[in-house]
Amino acid sequence: MTHKILILNGPGLADLGDDDDDNDRGLTLEKVRTECAGLCHSLGIELDFRQTDDQDEMVRWMTQDSEGYDGVIINPVGCSRAATVSLPAYRSAIGTAIRTIALLRKPVVEVHINNIFSRSAETTRPEHEPAGAMGLVCGLGVHGYLLGIRSIAHRFESDATH
């Protein structure tokens, strides 16, 4: 059976690489998609890679569409300090959605391109606590996505042998 992974990118990520933010270093979402597709192909995993600027659609994808997949990677954006949206309601909805997926015992990895904790040295508490997410990777650029894919693939393997 072929495993299926859903990768969801939240508001603003289509514009990745458009601004002069040094941390993005020219990374585009298309580049992320290409790298993720290449790795999934080599691991024999089916990939559905999506992006939306619509917060409601993001939450709907997470809570409804994720049912048909074996693992989910999300870059919610709005939950981070690098937020292009900062609505508490969105953050809360994302947190609930992550919990929903995790309750189904499906691997979930929350990925952020930059280190969301680095913006302020004074406070380290993220505005959003990634409730429910199995994994958290931030600051590794596109590698964060690839780590997420590899860790989920690793979990598929151990599930198969146990």
Partner: protein, 153 residues
């Protein structure tokens, strides 16, 4: 000249495999060390693997790394949430730094939700289990063996 990566482990990680295996897994620290060394060898990295229950001993090793290493993977365990001294030592290290946790501290007790380490590292990886060690070493290798742009390329 091979690049050197310090993998520094904090308190109680010597009990891995016996302490709350439902959270931390059944593997021992020795098994993790062996896998890290194998991964390092595969990438041509010199791996220095260290564990201590003592804050000062961890700081001594981090200071040693300033002169001898190009990368640090730090799993400071419970000191993550208490140690300003480890924060300062890491801040003095100019190479590539990854904070690593086996479980995801943000899913656990509120006293684990603040990390003094996160603001002074390049990246945070948590909740990927002990496989996280191998995964971050792969990224470290890409970071150190290729040019800077590789990480985001």
């Amino acid at each position: 000249m091979p690049k050197t990566v310090y993998i520094v482990n904090g308190p109680n990680l010597n009990l891995l495999g016996t302490r709350e295996p439902e959270i931390y897994g059944a593997s021992t620290l020795k098994e993790i060390e062996d896998r890290c060394r194998a991964t390092g060898t595969r990438h041509g990295l010199n791996v220095v693997f260290f564990q201590s229950n003592h804050e000062g001993a961890i700081i001594d090793r981090l200071q040693e790394a300033i002169d001898t290493a190009q990368g640090i993977v730090i799993n400071a365990a419970a000191y993550t949430h208490t140690s300003i001294a480890i924060h300062d030592a890491l801040r003095a290290f100019k190479g590539f730094k990854i904070e690593l946790h086996i479980s995801n501290p943000h899913l656990r007790e509120p006293f684990r939700h603040v990390s003094f380490i996160s603001p002074v590292v390049d990246a945070v990886v948590a909740g990927l289990g002990i496989y996280g060690y191998e995964l971050v070493l792969n990224v470290m290798a890409a970071e150190l063996n290729n040019d800077e742009s590789r990480r985001f390329a």
